[in-house]
């Protein structure tokens, strides 16, 4: 399975759109301090002031500039989602490969753990834990990583098992290649596509999850987060403020998730047809 991922992604209309959308977002997040007209934590005017020349999207209920808040919110979202994706992919790889290569008791224990984690409703557990801890960025990354690694580990194990059967691996190990060499030289390159798909799925779920938890109010209230903005904005829907406060915030969350949905779909379509049928929708 040697697919040139980058080419496949750029060839697909969905892939191109998604990539463009994410590039814009990453740019906004990186340049936030330069673009943002105000400090999003500072009180800069009358609370709930409507949009004006000075404040593009008006002010929130405690007099902070909503446009600047939105820009800084993209940083929180991207930091948490990419953090979760990186760490949970690493754990998935470690557990998936350990199960596939060692077999025996190690494999049985890991598989059992994965099976159990898969029947537990992850979101509910996240809400439960978060409602006690009011997590900040780091805690949330740890919490979501703990909950998100199992599906990836299962797929990686299955894939690694089938790659292990291939002749070039048998050849390599009969020439005396050790486990470490096999993983680094043969398994990882072949696992790359499936890991990428999983990575994108985890990012998408993490964006949704962060927004959802913050919307429920179980997130560190000091952070600038789109979910939290939605949480506060939803208390003021009976004023006109939803037009410039709630809608742009919800739009940014949807924009980000849709971008990852598009990239994910493009990558999955590029993968082998058997996996293609497992296309996975739903948060």
């Amino acid at each position: 399975m040697h697919i040139n991922y980058w080419t496949e992604l750029k060839r697909s209309k969905f892939g191109r759109t998604g990539l463009a959308m994410i590039s814009i977002l990453v740019f906004l997040a990186l340049a936030a301090p330069l673009i943002a007209p105000y400090d999003p934590w500072a009180y800069v005017g009358t609370p709930l002031a409507p949009p004006s020349g000075e404040h593009l999207l008006g002010l929130n209920d405690i007099g902070q500039d909503i446009f600047s808040e939105l820009l800084y919110g993209s940083r929180t979202t991207l930091m948490i989602s990419s953090g979760v994706a990186i760490f949970s992919t690493l754990i998935s790889l470690a557990f998936g490969l350990a199960a596939a290569l060692w077999g025996g008791l190690v494999e049985r224990v890991i598989l059992r753990l994965i099976d159990i984690m898969l029947i537990i409703p992850v979101f509910l557990i996240a809400i439960l834990v978060a409602s006690f801890f009011q997590p900040g960025v780091t805690t949330l990354i740890i919490l979501l990583t703990c909950l998100f690694w199992p599906p990836g580990a299962r797929i990686i194990r299955a894939q690694a098992l089938s790659i292990k059967q291939k002749q070039h691996l048998t050849a390599a190990s009969s020439f005396g290649a050790g486990k470490g060499y096999l993983v680094y030289r043969h398994l990882l390159p072949d696992l790359y596509p499936i890991v990428t798909v999983n990575f994108i799925q985890v990012i998408r779920r993490a964006v949704f999850m962060e927004a959802g938890l913050a919307f429920l109010g179980v997130f560190d209230p000091v952070q600038k987060s789109w979910g939290l903005m939605l949480h506060y904005a939803s208390e003021f829907i009976f004023t006109g403020a939803w037009k410039w406060w709630l809608v742009p915030t919800g739009f940014m969350i949807s924009y980000t998730i849709i971008a990852f949905v598009l990239i994910g779909y493009a990558l999955e379509s590029a993968l082998d047809p058997r996996l293609r049928r497992q296309v996975y929708v739903g948060h």
Binding site: I120, L124, S254, V261, G282
Partner: protein, 327 residues
């Protein structure tokens, strides 16, 4: 299958332990963690009664046994905000949640399957791309945002539907009038929950149809000169239905999580809304109790699906675990 029972038992144990240890791991004593500021208003006798009831003066091991014992008797603790046993509060809210989930499950499954058939059958056509793109966009909008938009436009701006609740308060409708009142209140929540769930069923059905079209039995049906509609629905759709059916349990699980947000947005008096009220008032026995309740429902749904899958399609035994994907 015996292994599978063990998975469920272990899952329940993990969830119970989380419920038990979380408040006890918090800094300070568990009573403060569970009851928070409410503790300040309690009389010393009441506090002593609570310590007695949960065995808080005993060792962790004994406390866990007391906890399990209470749970078996259906005692999830006492809510100081609602001033009633948690179980009682929960049972009052549960029917509304079941109503929303039930109706949306039926609707989203039917709609998802129908448009999935149309889209997959015309794979690559303009209709297919249009449906696919709109479904992907729909899939990207978080349910709580979609719900708030519906609430703002349909209820607030155009005043077509009520703003909150499940029935008009202080009304004494009966019969048809009551039915109409309940239907009006649940319209928007059900719409949101259904739209949230359609993409999943649509994708499953579309992909399944695309792979079935190439099967020889479809060619046979065409060769026999059957009408296109009959091939599409009686032959292709029926053959492609399995993935949707086998994932119904997972859909139910996802819906019990999704309904939480939707009840909060529409202030619909089910378990999710109850959870939110409790969260805002720091009523942790109800927070824990309601999440525990929903979790048990999800596990039950998953378990029944597992049993069902093995009954109708032993081949899927392995796949069924592999394809689990839920949040």
């Amino acid at each position: 299958m015996r292994k599978r029972y063990l998975d469920y038992i272990l899952a329940i144990i993990i969830i119970l332990s989380l419920n038990f240890f979380l408040p006890r791991l918090m800094p300070g004593d568990p009573l403060t963690a569970i009851y928070g500021d409410a503790l300040l208003e309690m009389s010393p006798q009441l506090e002593a009664q609570l310590v007695e009831r949960y065995g808080l003066d005993k060792s962790m091991g004994e406390q866990f046994i007391v906890y399990l014992g209470n749970l078996l008797r259906g005692d999830l603790g006492y809510s100081y905000y609602f001033n009633a046993p948690v179980t009682e509060v929960l049972l009052e809210a549960l029917p509304w949640t079941l109503l929303l989930v039930g109706v949306s499950l039926v609707l989203s499954t039917i709609i998802g399957i129908l448009i999935g058939i149309e889209s997959g059958w015309r794979h690559g056509s303009r209709l297919d791309s249009l449906l696919l793109i709109s479904i992907m966009f729909l899939n990207g909008i978080p349910s709580f945002f979609l719900g708030i938009l519906f609430l703002i436009f349909f209820s607030f701006e155009w005043q077509l539907f009520p703003l909150s609740g499940a029935v008009t308060p202080f009304s004494d409708y009966t019969g048809l009038a009551l039915f109409w009142d309940i239907a009006r209140h649940m319209f928007l929540p059900v719409l949101t929950l259904t739209l949230m769930q359609v993409p999943r069923n649509y994708m499953l059905m579309r992909n399944s149809i695309i792979s079935v079209i190439r099967e020889p039995y479809i060619l046979t049906a065409q060769g026999k000169g059957l009408k296109e509609g009959i091939i599409r629905y009686r032959h292709a759709a029926r053959g492609a239905l399995l993935p949707v059916i086998t994932r119904l349990g997972m859909s139910i699980g996802l819906m019990f999580t999704g309904v939480l947000f939707i009840e909060i947005v529409f202030a619909y008096p089910g378990t999710g809304h109850l959870f939110y009220q409790a969260l805002q008032n720091m009523d942790f026995p109800v927070v824990q109790g309601s999440l525990f309740f929903i979790t048990v429902f999800v596990l039950l749904a998953n378990f029944l699906t597992d049993l069902f899958i093995i009954k109708i399609e032993p081949r899927l035994r392995e796949d069924a675990y592999q394809l689990l994907d839920r949040t």
